[in-house]
Symmetry: C2
Subunit: 413 residues, 2 copies
């Protein structure tokens, strides 16, 4: 691992001096290599799938692991989308002149070496590697053992692309999964080499990272997202937003997990919204007042308010106005994404100001919690941290800055 | 400590809802309380000084600890300077509209609860507390035991000011120094309460924080700052900048610690620059070529290149152009602040681009490494981290942000 760390720092130095165009050329070569090595990637993936079946992986896990022509093409296209993003490195975030004539610029620079620890989905190899490369960072990737052959085949395409344009292959390194101590080493033993760790995985990985990491972490905790339907909500809009926020895709972190309905709208709005959800195949776990509106509603338990289902299940509760909604979100939420539906601008502003989540929306679906939907391009995840990066983590969030000061002989008094 | 943590989180919520004007009112009341309680502060300081003398504190440490009328007035004025800063909370850092009509704003919000662990100088109690309050954060302060009575007296003024304007006293809490376990607890046991730790102190504190902290840290490592005099430097400018960078104040983190002179200018520039330093009372520790120009130069040892003297001592070396200067800084520097003196724009751009320090200057003194000199107002320190905040850490760097999205019923396809 020491050798990997040193190589990453060497690669970082080369990247720091590389042009955005040369990094884009590498990405173009990587996209081409993914397409031309499709057969090798599929063969490697077949080995992983076979081992996964033998090892008793769930169908959902096998589906996340599975690659086919379309998914490989999707990876190549994702790389091309990253190419199309503006180059964050060297951009001037702010600029001003001091009274003594010194011109100060805050200039974006890469963070350095980014360690990414991830599970099952092999495409993260490519997505994360491409985002790091675009932003001038060296990447040290550690995939889950279940995707080891697929990830290695994808990584080989990245190495091929880098080689082709004359950048060091070590700009993106894949740690061998045979090294069982590698995760612990990345978290705590490579502080001289790794500048930041990005974990992509389930609760046990996140818990381990929080416990062990001795380097900064860009964390992606759960998304226990809320939609609050205010008393002054337009009924049709509320129905459309709640159904979309919950059911468009239930497995993403921006999917709504709890519905809060203002008591003032309970008589008019609650029944149709709940019926929409039930009819769409969603299980509704409601408090006593919600349970009254439809016999298909199950009674919620205390645990439901804190649960990220990532499934066609929603917790539902009647609250006494925007204040109780805010208090409920403060108590049970994960500070990811919450939405208020209302025609009352005062209630909206109160909600947007007081709810302390990475993303707060007024009259829009929580499913917009996504870097692409924000117009920020591809993302490495949604940060629920407040430190460094909050919300979608795209190429800009993978940079730091430095101050460049141009003078004409100024000395300080 | 649990009670302190809970109180801080409660105070943070009140602060999150407070107006910038009410926080400024509190700061005004604090400045007034510092002035009206001068006698009590001086009496408390006398107890600390007596204990410090008995305990064998060095004269430098006693001087840092000592307060007098002028220093208390300086604290009050520093609070007033913080009042004059623009309110960072609620400002819109970016704003854009998506093709679907959603308006997205990135809005600054407080980080939450900031823990500050500091040594000797009692004025940090007031400076750090004021910056946290201005930026809407609750503060948990832990001073060194040597300043306990002074810090308590200053903290009492802050509590008085907060009380006067109806904000919770717990917005700024001082941890009793009698609790020996408090530092460890702040670093690792209060992750539910503390959002970020700012250590202000010597190497042993910094090392402990890096070892133990389980929350994000805004670090302030050493400033082993360099001035590189290029072959194309204007001699008079180089003399003025080197002398100022080293000797204006030797004890600040932006003071130059190593002088690098281009071999191309060694014959013309080296002797007068070295003579200026020696004549000003600076000890010069040079390599063999530097030692040739003046018999007062001592020969440098390997350790000199890595040493932050914070004293009237400078290491000096002849290098072979800007490339060797950059390589020397990469190897020995602390990524704080470095300056190039040259009339050659190509050499300047190479240095400014390749040197990976928080602050890089062209034709200006390293002593400008200061939030006030940058026009950013008072600072809590200079960060040598790349994560979250780099360079001067002022009120803006004590904030996070959230995304506020305003729609008109948008759902995601």
């Amino acid at each position: 691992m020491d050798g990997i760390g040193r190589a990453a720092v060497e690669a970082e130095r080369v990247l720091a001096r590389s042009s955005g165009e040369s990094r884009n050329q590498a990405l173009r070569a990587i996209a081409a290599a993914l397409r031309s090595n499709q057969a090798q990637i599929l063969a490697a993936n077949a080995r992983d799938l076979k081992a996964g079946e033998a090892g008793g992986l769930s169908n959902a896990a096998l589906d996340r692991l599975m690659l086919d022509d379309a998914r490989i093409e999707g990876m190549a296209r994702a790389v091309e989308e990253v190419i199309a993003l503006p180059d964050p490195v060297g951009t001037i975030a702010a600029e001003w002149v001091r009274p003594n004539g010194m011109r100060i610029q805050r200039v974006r620079v890469p963070l350095g070496v980014i360690g990414i620890i991830y599970e099952s989905r092999p495409n993260v190899t490519c997505d994360a590697g491409a985002l790091c490369l675009k932003s001038g960072n060296a990447a040290i990737l550690r995939c889950g053992s279940e995707s080891q052959h697929s990830s290695a085949a994808i990584h080989a395409c990245m190495a091929e692309g880098l080689r082709e344009v004359g950048l060091p292959e070590t700009c993106v390194q894949l740690v061998p999964t045979t090294d069982r101590a590698a995760v612990g080493c990345m978290l705590a033993g490579m502080t001289d080499y790794i500048d930041v760790i990005v974990p992509r995985g389930g609760k046990s990985l996140i818990a381990r990272v929080q416990q062990e990491a001795r380097v900064p972490v860009i964390g992606h905790l759960e998304g226990n997202c809320h939609v609050y339907v205010d008393g002054a909500a337009d009924l049709n809009m509320a129905r459309a937003i709640v159904l979309n926020a919950k059911m468009r895709r239930t497995g993403i972190c921006g999917a709504a997990e709890t519905l809060l309905v203002d008591a003032a709208a309970a008589r008019t709005h609650l029944a149709p919204i709940v019926k929409d959800l039930l009819d769409a195949g969603c299980e509704v776990r409601g408090d006593a007042r919600v349970a009254q509106v439809d016999r298909r509603v199950r009674l919620a338990t205390a645990a439901d308010w804190s649960t990220e289902y990532l499934d066609a299940i929603i917790a539902a509760k009647v609250v006494d106005g925007v204040d109780e909604a805010i208090e409920h979100i403060r108590r049970y939420g994960s500070a990811h994404t919450e939405s208020i539906v209302t025609e009352d601008p005062m209630a909206a502003e109160k909600f947007l100001t007081r709810v302390d989540s990475a993303i707060v929306l007024h009259n829009a679906s929580t499913q917009f919690a996504d870097g692409g939907e924000f117009g920020m391009g591809a993302e490495i995840g949604i940060s629920t941290d407040k430190f460094h990066a909050r919300g979608p983590v795209g190429v800009e969030q993978l940079t730091s800055y430095k101050y460049v000061v141009r003078g004409s002989g100024q000395v300080r008094r």
